[in-house]
Symmetry: C2
Subunit: 144 residues, 2 copies
Amino acid sequence: MTQKDDFDLREFLPYLLNQAAEISSQSFQRTYKGRYGMLRTEWRVLFHLAIYERMTAKDICEKAIMHKTKVSRAVQRLEQRRYLQRKPDEKDRRHEWLTLTSQGRAVYEDLRAHAQQHDQVLMQKLSTEEITVLRRALNALSQP
Amino acid sequence: MTQKDDFDLREFLPYLLNQAAEISSQSFQRTYKGRYGMLRTEWRVLFHLAIYERMTAKDICEKAIMHKTKVSRAVQRLEQRRYLQRKPDEKDRRHEWLTLTSQGRAVYEDLRAHAQQHDQVLMQKLSTEEITVLRRALNALSQP
DNA sequence: TGGTAATAGTTGAAAATGTAACTAACAACC
DNA sequence: GGTTGTTAGTTACATTTTCAACTATTACCA
């Protein structure tokens, strides 16, 4: 198993990004899955609603870059657990406004604290300067 | 839909990483999916075999940080398409050595060229210095 | 006004993934 | 040498995701 090719996978950005994303998500995944049986799609929707307060499913799709069926099903499950409420728009009844319940906000607060802790741990692997550049670069790469 | 919280999702590394990984993978995905109907797990296995020439499934699991069932299924499909061959180890018949066929290598060469092009496009979004730091940081974060 | 197109969101079936249990081969220890 | 433990890899089943088709509502425009 010796390397032959001049092409190095560890230079290929989509591969590297995926690897880093996968590994750095694992510990946080254990938290939201272990404590609330939540899926990745669900914490993402929960966090978006906590941060933006009031969104439609469409808004979430755009912000979180998730497909509408993923969002739809995440919303269903969060509603079943009474973490959010739906309210149809008066003017245009195709839209539904989503907001967190107080229970949903409580779950968010708990998970957010954990998220920040996980982030601290991750950042210990990097220098301050690396963190700054990394964030900037990731934001640049996130623009489609 | 105005931001409320002091916690910014766009600072949370697992989220940012995932977003960047997702978006920057999309164009390459269209390539391997469109041209060869391959899945993410499959191009990863293919690339590993092309680069390291001769590996067992276990080796791939470790290098690519993929679960053994994912590798097992990717290997099956690559074998069906005659992109790789299996050969049991003489000394220890629990191990199977995997190598690409010439057809598999041809597919790899084609995909590699595309991968490099995609990488070029991605890198245009970043400065040389950002690229260096980004690669270093991603490698650091990829250590579990 | 009526008919067509567009939009928000849901649903069902197929594909992919995750989890745990399984087989087969070897190792180690008594 | 036989029992027990490990390891490489596969399989079965449950859970998620994807894709396409669907409903319901509004917009557009002749």
